[in-house]
């Protein structure tokens, strides 16, 4: 297996070739099995690490226990037929990881069972297309059954339990569970690189953006290295202020508005214009500071301005719209009970915009979030909604080495994403028991009793639903058959607690899975495997490009 390169990509000199059955199926199966076998040890509360060599030889192998990252790091297999299968499942798994942040190991073992069992059936004369149709019906039936088992997450302890299942780090799980219970599933939680060994966190009133004071000389509170204005008038623009004369209408409008504090948020202020603002520091009538409009890119700057204007009220002045500072009136100013700025950020506490307009603006963004196709877009919208809701949490993740710190930071981000999913869409009994409980629902597939393909799909999916549980037990070093037998005697409400080694109720004991993750894992795995079963021919190209970013197959 070839790990992802950091500096160089090996060159493959290959000839074009068309591959037919049964070689196609054998190759695909080999590649899929290799990827899944690499990910399989990461399933469960005792994940075993997978060491992946780095492209550069100077550093030690990368130790991974996240199925999604393991899949991503394997970018090619030496056998071209196997490589096609491996890259196929890699795309399915990475797409799942991008969408929900977890569930990759569960999806991998489900995929493998469906694919391998499906191949056997097709080899015995089954129809791939009809089987695919029944498998996809089965995926929907399981998803519906999972919906029926889903419970809303209640309380901080449950959130900590979910966090623990993702990050396997009690200290991190407690902090993240607590913070998500405070900021909420849509709230803003910033994960930063810490300076020490430990994890530190803080809760911040209001919202803040990366817009610094234009000059250090505008710091009024030198002890806390920041300036705080109460009940200030705030002008938002992406215009640059080049001459002191341009400030005159702004100051006149602020005086007319009766403001005693003024914040000018603009893309830049020249040194001559800054001098005017600095002189105001001694004034008891109108004190003025300048801060930079947040955002380096114009689209980010515009969305930040839109959000701030929604929160504070007033009318922003936009360069692209031809606005200038000459026509500034009191109606252009937004207002906040408190605004603070330092050398990095500008923050608002209790902005005074029309609350109904703020709510409409947030609702618009929530709809856009639901409809967003790309993960990057969803993340940007998530951050904007979080800032609008008000109140933020920040975590500084430390570590003994930079590698440890970066690994923990990524883990924290992944855990937060899962927690948000849990808070939004609820939880399921963990330890693979929710999937086991879906088996009876598959009887719906047997409505057409004469269809051999339907019966095959029923058998394949029933077995697949047991695979995550069996893998968890096997990874923990226990005997799967014995425990499954004991559980079936104990009733359908229980599962096996790997940590304590006893059979118990899952949710009351904090053993949970995120409903959205499990559902998506099932759908991705079954639909992905069902489609793979219909592939008959492989076409290899001459010198194919190596793609480090996984592509999702068209499922």
């Amino acid at each position: 297996m070839t790990p992802a390169p950091s500096s160089s990509i090996p060159e493959f000199k290959q000839t074009p070739e068309t591959v037919f059955q049964p070689r196609t199926a054998r190759g695909f199966q080999g590649g899929i099995n290799k990827i899944v076998d690499a990910i399989r040890p990461s399933l469960g509360p005792f994940p075993r690490a997978v060491a992946i060599a780095r492209a550069t030889t100077t550093r030690s192998p990368e130790l991974l226990d996240s199925g999604g990252i393991i899949a991503r790091r394997i970018i090619s297999l030496p056998n071209r037929d196997e490589d096609a299968g491996a890259m196929y499942i890699r795309g399915v798994l990475w797409n799942l990881h991008e969408r929900v942040g977890d569930g990759v190991a569960t999806a991998a073992v489900l995929f493998q069972t469906v694919f391998n069992q499906g191949l056997k059936y097709i080899a015995a004369g089954g129809s791939p297309m009809t089987l695919r149709s029944y498998l996809e019906q089965g995926a929907d039936i399981i998803a519906n059954a999972l919906d029926g088992l889903t419970q809303p997450i209640a309380g901080t302890e449950a959130l900590i339990g979910v966090a623990q299942t993702v990050c396997h780090d009690r200290a991190l799980a407690e902090i993240l569970g607590n913070l998500i219970s405070i900021v909420g599933e849509d709230g803003w939680l910033e994960i930063r690189a810490g300076r020490g060994r430990d994890i530190e966190h803080e809760l911040i009133a209001g919202s803040y953006w990366p817009g610094a004071l234009v000059s250090k000389a505008m710091i009024y509170d030198t002890g806390r290295s920041r300036t705080v204005f109460e009940n200030a008038a705030i002008l938002i623009t992406d215009l640059a202020i080049d001459s002191p004369q341009e400030l005159v209408p702004v100051i006149q409008a602020a005086v007319e508005a009766g403001a005693s504090r003024l914040v000018v948020m603009c893309s830049n202020i020249s040194e001559q214009a800054q001098a005017i603002l600095l002189q105001s520091r001694k004034s008891d009538k109108l004190q003025i500071i300048g801060v930079k409009t947040p955002g380096l890119r114009s689209d980010v700057q515009m969305t930040s301005m839109l959000d701030m204007a929604a929160l504070m009220g007033g009318k922003m002045l936009v360069k692209a719209a031809g606005d200038t500072l000459t026509g500034v009136t009191p109606q252009h100013f937004g207002h906040a009970r408190r605004i603070w700025a330092n050398e990095e950020y500008t923050g608002l506490v209790h902005p005074q915009g029309d609350p109904k307009e703020i709510r409409r603006h947030i609702n618009t963004l929530r709809v856009a979030y639901k409809n967003a196709a790309k993960d990057e877009e969803r993340q940007r919208l998530q951050e904007r909604i979080g800032k609008l809701l008000g109140g933020a949490a920040a975590i500084d993740v430390g570590g003994l080495t930079e590698t440890e710190m970066e690994t923990r930071k990524e883990l924290a981000k992944r855990t937060v994403r899962t927690l948000r999913g849990a808070a939004r869409e609820g939880i399921l009994p963990g330890g693979g028991t929710a999937l086991l409980a879906c088996r009876p629902a598959l009887d719906e597939l047997l409505a057409d009793r004469d269809s051999l393909d339907a019966r095959a799909a029923h058998r394949i999916l029933t077995r697949a639903l047991e695979t995550p549980f069996r893998t968890l037990i096997s990874n923990s070093g226990n005997s799967e058959g014995k425990i499954l037998g004991e559980m079936e005697q104990a009733g359908c409400e229980v599962g096996f607690d790997i940590l304590s080694g006893r059979i118990c109720e899952m949710i009351p004991n904090g053993i949970v899975d995120v409903a959205a993750v499990q559902k998506q894992a099932v759908i991705s795995a079954i639909r992905g495997a069902a489609l793979a079963l219909t592939i008959d021919i492989l076409v290899h190209r001459k010198n194919p490009p190596i793609v480090t970013e996984p592509n999702a197959p068209g499922i």
């Binding site: 209640a154 309380g155 901080t156 219970s181 405070i182 900021v183 909420g184 849509d186 709230g187 809760l203 009133a205 109460e230 009940n231 929160l311 009970r337 408190r338 209790h350 005074q352 609350p355 109904k356 703020i358 709510r359 409409r360 947030i362 609008l388 809701l389 008000g390 109140g391």
Partner: protein, 298 residues
Amino acid sequence: MEQNQNLYEDYIYYITASPNFRKDGLVCAAKKSGLYYSRDKGKTWKDAYASLKLAAPLPTSSAAISILNEITYVFAGIEGKILRSLTSGETWEVADLDSPAPQVTALAISPNFAKDGTLLAATIQDGILRSTDRGVNWTGWNFGLYDPNINALAFLDPQIVLAGTQSGIFRSSNAGRSWRDLDFPIDFAPVLCLAIRRDGTIYAGTEAEGLHVSCDEGRTWEQLIEGTVEQIQLDASGRLLILRDGELLLSENGGQSWQAARPGFEPAADISALTAPLGLDPAKPLLVGLSNGEIIKL
């Protein structure tokens, strides 16, 4: 009907009764001129701030009473401060709130005050302040509360509390540490008052769109009556009393039909506050505060 004329002619923002009203007869009225208390079920009233020897009236916008270990706690909200008395209003301690000075509009005491010591204070412009040490220290807790203009607060249980605001209704499921907006129709806001039954049924009185009810934790709402609904009172028997367009209306069937709560009562000024300390049975007392400062026992 008893009328008490021994009062300042000033606006009454809030009237609240002791949880032990039947025995101690304590009731407080928050008024433009200060806080007043009665220990005889509203017959006679005294200036609760007398011990402060104030040079000028101290407008008081909200009040709350709780009893713990036989100590009567009285809280009063004024501009920029919350006052606390452990002597039924005879002496006071002052808690300063963060600048800029918030205007406290409502105080709500946790149903589990004896154990958690939690109180919430609603403000106009500054969101919700929270105390977990029985009112000694107060901190803003506004995660998710993007509308800081709070008109009303109501606890369902020690964890679940609702806030009625200019833009709708927010719900906290962790005793006011964080908030989520409910699907209350935006065009029906502002929400002026709230009440929650033990079964979770929520009643919301609005400025112009009447009284609304939700039986599914705020996901869907049904309008029960039109108009401006400024006050809601519930009792354990299922009765519902509202102040709608200046009229006191009573419903015995969850808001499906209404009747005059006190037929023949014609107040000399607008009704601005009310409390029913012993429930909403027409035979039990109802204390009504008027905009001219009068408090009437019906």
